[in-house]
């Protein structure tokens, strides 16, 4: 059990002993840190993000040795990989990757922690060397910025590898402001090329596939949304259009967990998805991920920072009150005034809205700067709140200035489903609003909490549930096979946009060396992940990109991923000046190796400019 000094101090203090000791744990001041960045633009991230990074003594002490030039004969240190305990597939894959890495002289320390601990570690960039991450699709992730910006843009704190490639960052900044779709697509594709060429992250597998089973004896015409599947509350087409084959018009969905708040401003993933079935979003996507009008009937671009949104006429809230343009105006006023969290991402570039044409229900949205994510982000994520319920709610409930503290026990929206009975961690009833413009064919949808996959499979088999909510639960091929023999059940395979990747902290050694990264990419037995861990239900990645083949933003002309070949990796390392110690561990090139020093200083591949952390002298 490794305990940090800070924790010991905490313990000492917690047990009522040396309370005063805590005073020593105050963070070092930023000026003490000798670590600097190549381009002052990035100071904003490293020095200006609260108590993070250069203001975090833990980060400084973990980073400093790795920015110090290695001495003659120094071994490449143990490489730390942190994996949350719930992600058993990552662990299964990395157990094999570590064995292969050892053959190359790399010693991985794989540490398993709770998921929350893992999140804290990656957020503070204290996760060691490689950040492992998988992606499953969510509505906000259909827009390319979600991944390109958050995971690779040099100024984003979630760029866990601390990659700061000037050319890439310029492309990202440009695409976020580009409202012309073809031009934005080009920039997004170019940005993907930079990631792939600079060998920033390593795609280890494209998957797992989306396999689902449903009760086909009771239901027909289910809708498979690309990247989401048939049973997702995020892409709820199935619940809108499934045709009952029996007299039962109540669809029952098994869900892993459901205990969050029903206040959409504070809700977690599950309830946020359900919230958007209750409150209408402005635009939606069809099963092929194309943007389709929803509560907004149409929208017109006035200039690159202004749009006119026309509200669909004739909509009503679930309490019977009509939806008006005032409600929409109120929603943005409310969110801009109070919300700094859930809707903040969607609205942080919004300057304000104004009613343009009250008669025809037109609202004008003006952004602070040219805005490229209007359709795929802004319209997708924003909903309409009923003004007559929400207008004084902050004062009525005494929520101060934090809308997350509101209690909305019975959410009223204008969406296709009305909120019915809710027993946390047990069951939730959604009642179809048959007056909705896209009225569901089912009468009711029930979500039943079933906390184990075994229970979900069993209930599918016994007919107690019709399908599984698939935002975070898909079937494996062997599970699908097990259900295949059961009468009345059908399995559906939906094209996925999932991936699992590893992002090295390129700002520190040994990752700063482009050739080291090149060799490292050849140490991954991706076939093992695909065939063994994922049971074959995945695709072999063909390029190092977040926007995998099938995504509307995919770039088909990316350089291929270096294949799994340890001999080739050894040869690259040898040619780059690395050697091996008697115990087989990899040894850094000699300190006077000029080519090595140059590669480490410039971090990026020739032709790109590094702006991030600098080596210490």
């Amino acid at each position: 059990m490794k305990m940090e000094r800070r924790d010991l101090l905490r313990l000492a203090a917690a047990t009522g002993g040396a309370v005063a000791l805590g005073a020593h744990a105050t963070p070092a001041r930023a000026v003490d840190a000798p670590i600097t960045v190549a381009n002052p633009k990035y100071d904003k991230l490293y020095k200006g993000t609260g108590t993070y990074f250069m203001n975090d003594p833990r980060w400084v002490s973990a980073t400093t040795p790795r920015l110090t030039w290695p001495k003659q004969g120094e071994k490449v240190p143990e490489l730390r990989v942190v994996i949350p305990t719930v992600q058993t597939a990552w662990m299964d894959a990395w157990r094999k990757f570590a064995v292969d890495g050892a053959k190359l002289g790399l010693k991985y320390t794989i540490e398993q922690v709770s998921e929350a601990r893992w999140l804290e570690l990656i957020e503070t960039h204290l996760h060691g060397d490689v950040e492992v991450h998988s992606a499953i699709l969510r509505p906000e992730r259909v827009d390319p910025s979600e991944w390109l910006t958050s995971r690779a843009y040099g100024l984003d704190r979630r760029n866990y590898g601390e990659w700061a490639n000037a050319q890439y960052d310029a492309l990202i900044e440009a695409q976020a402001r580009e409202s012309d779709h073809p031009k934005r697509l080009k920039q997004v594709q170019d940005a993907q090329r930079v990631i792939a060429e600079d060998l920033y992250m390593d795609e280890q597998g494209w998957g797992p596939s989306i396999i689902e089973a449903y009760n086909s004896a009771a239901w027909g015409n289910v809708a498979a949304t690309r990247g989401f599947g048939i049973g997702s509350f995020n892409a709820f087409h199935t619940f809108l259009r499934a045709q009952p084959k029996t007299s039962r018009r109540r669809m029952v969905v098994g869900i892993h967990s459901l205990l969050e708040t029903t206040n959409i401003i504070a809700a977690g993933n599950n309830m946020r998805a359900i919230g958007r079935m209750i409150y209408d979003r402005l635009a939606y996507m069809d099963p092929d991920l194309n943007v389709i009008p929803w509560a907004a009937e149409s929208w017109t671009r006035v200039d690159d920072r202004t749009w006119d949104i026309k509200l669909r006429p004739g909509m009503n809230f679930h309490d019977g009150k009509p939806v008006t343009i005032d409600d929409l105006q109120f929603t943005f006023d409310f969110l801009l005034k109070w919300d700094r969290a859930t809707f903040w991402t969607a609205n942080r570039f919004l300057e304000g809205t104004a009613i343009q044409d009250a008669e025809n229900g037109v609202l004008r949205a003006t952004f602070k700067e040219p805005y490229g994510q209007f359709e795929t982000y802004f319209l997708q994520l924003n909903v309409i709140l009923p003004r007559h319920i929400w207008q004084n709610i902050m004062i009525e409930q005494g929520a101060g200035d934090d809308p997350r503290r509101l209690r909305i026990d019975k959410p009223i929206g204008s969406g296709p489903f009305k909120f019915g009975r809710y027993q946390k961690e047990a069951q939730l009833q959604l009642i179809a609003d048959k007056t909705h413009f896209s009225k569901p064919t089912v009468d009711e949808v029930w979500a039943v909490v079933t906390p184990s996959i075994d229970g979900l499979l069993g209930r599918l088999q016994s007919g107690d549930i019709d399908l599984i909510e698939s935002s975070d639960t898909h079937l494996t091929p062997s599970q699908a096979k097990q259900l295949a023999g059961i009468a009345g059940l059908s399995t559906v395979h939906t094209p996925d946009l999932n991936w699992l990747h590893g992002v090295p902290r390129v700002s520190i050694l040994p990752w700063r060396d482009f050739l080291f990264r090149r060799a490292w990419h050849q140490s991954f037995d991706r076939e093992f992940l695909l065939k063994v861990v994922w049971e074959g239900a995945a695709r072999m990645p063909i390029a190092n990109t977040f926007l995998v083949e099938g995504s509307p933003w995919y770039n088909p002309d990316l350089p291929p991923i270096p294949d799994f070949n340890l001999d080739a990796a050894r040869a690259i390392l040898k040619a780059a000046g690395y050697s091996w110690a008697a115990d087989g561990r990899l040894v850094y090139p000699a300190p006077d190796d000029a080519a090595y020093r140059k590669r480490v200083e410039q971090v990026c591949k020739d032709g790109y400019t590094w702006g991030g952390l600098k080596m210490l002298d």
Partner: protein
């Protein structure tokens, strides 16, 4: 006696304080930062700082400790980080649900176990004794999660005789009393309760059997026999005397009950306190996890305390 009780009570408070301190140390050693849950939600840094302030995570530790002890003493657990309810409300609800499973199982285990154990002890070396003891031992040795999954598979998924977990059916009764009085709940209770009984009944059976043997070999029985009482009456008398150790045992039983409980609540999708704790731990919902653990500890301690007092009342020798 009054002094004895007062002294025990004082000691109980001391023990509770110790456990509270242990819990505090534990949860403040938890290295995870609950605000990190929001990473994916693209929160602004100011928002994260703000949340920390709101949750009191920025106070000095000693202040947090004092607040904590004061709050725990008055059962003020604060608000859940992620649910829109005070922790106390959540815990009361979940504890009630857990009791809805545990208490009937406990009653059946003790009642049935007493009868079977007493009979087994009485009819020493009979086939009845052999069967009872062996079967209960086998049941006790099979991990309860294993038995639970098997039971679900057979009776719910395949035969479809009983509901596949959960506490009530879709749209079933809501609220503790409505649930308690419903047939629906009883149907849902059968399987988990049976699994629980299969595990817990072993203790009373073995205990009663051995104390029965003890009683049976004592003079007291001979006296009753000499008085010419009928066998059935003697058995009743003997059982009453053999019951004493059971009182202490029940306390121990409740404390260990919470263990299998976590597993069974997951397998049977029972919205109880054990599952709440597992979820809260995954989400780092400190107040809920802390409160849940505290409640479980408190129940255990109270049962132990009650058993002590009861034992003291029944058997005055122990109140030294």
């Amino acid at each position: 006696m009054g002094r004895y009780i007062a002294r025990r009570l004082l000691l109980l408070v001391l023990v509770i304080w110790c456990i509270l301190t242990i819990l505090f140390a534990l949860f403040h050693l938890l290295p995870g930062d609950p605000t990190s849950i929001f990473v994916d939600n693209n929160f602004s840094v100011e928002m994260i700082q703000r949340q920390k302030r709101l949750w009191g995570l920025t106070d000095p530790l000693w202040l947090q400790y004092l607040h904590y002890i004061r709050n725990m003493a008055f059962f003020r657990f604060g608000d859940s980080f992620f649910q829109d309810q005070p922790v106390a409300t959540i815990l009361v609800d979940r504890t009630a649900n857990t009791c809805l499973m545990i208490v009937p199982a406990l009653i059946v285990s003790v009642a049935l176990g007493t009868v079977l154990g007493a009979l087994a002890g009485w009819r020493r070396a009979s086939r009845f004794e052999q069967t009872t003891v062996t079967v209960s031992l086998f049941l006790h040795s099979a991990p309860s999660f294993f038995v639970g999954i098997l039971a679900l598979m057979v009776f719910s998924y395949d035969l479809r005789w009983l509901p596949p977990g959960g506490m009530v059916s879709l749209g079933g009764p809501q609220g503790f009393w409505a649930v308690l009085g419903s047939r629906d709940y009883l149907q849902h209770l059968i399987l988990p309760a049976l699994v629980l009984v299969s595990r817990e009944i072993t203790g009373p059976i073995l205990l009663l059997r051995s104390s029965m043997l003890e009683v049976k070999s004592s003079d007291f029985i001979d006296i009753l026999r000499a008085k010419g009482l009928r066998e059935r009456h003697i058995l009743t008398h003997a059982t009453r005397n053999a019951l004493l150790p059971l009182v202490t045992y029940i306390a121990v039983m409740t404390s260990t009950l919470f263990q299998g409980q976590v597993l069974l609540e997951i397998i049977f999708a029972w919205p109880g306190i054990g599952r709440e704790l597992v979820t809260a731990l995954g989400d780092l919902d400190y107040p809920v996890a802390q409160g849940a653990l505290y409640i479980m500890a408190l129940v255990t301690l109270t049962m132990n305390f009650g058993a002590d007092l009861l034992y003291g009342l029944i058997d005055p020798r122990s109140s030294t």
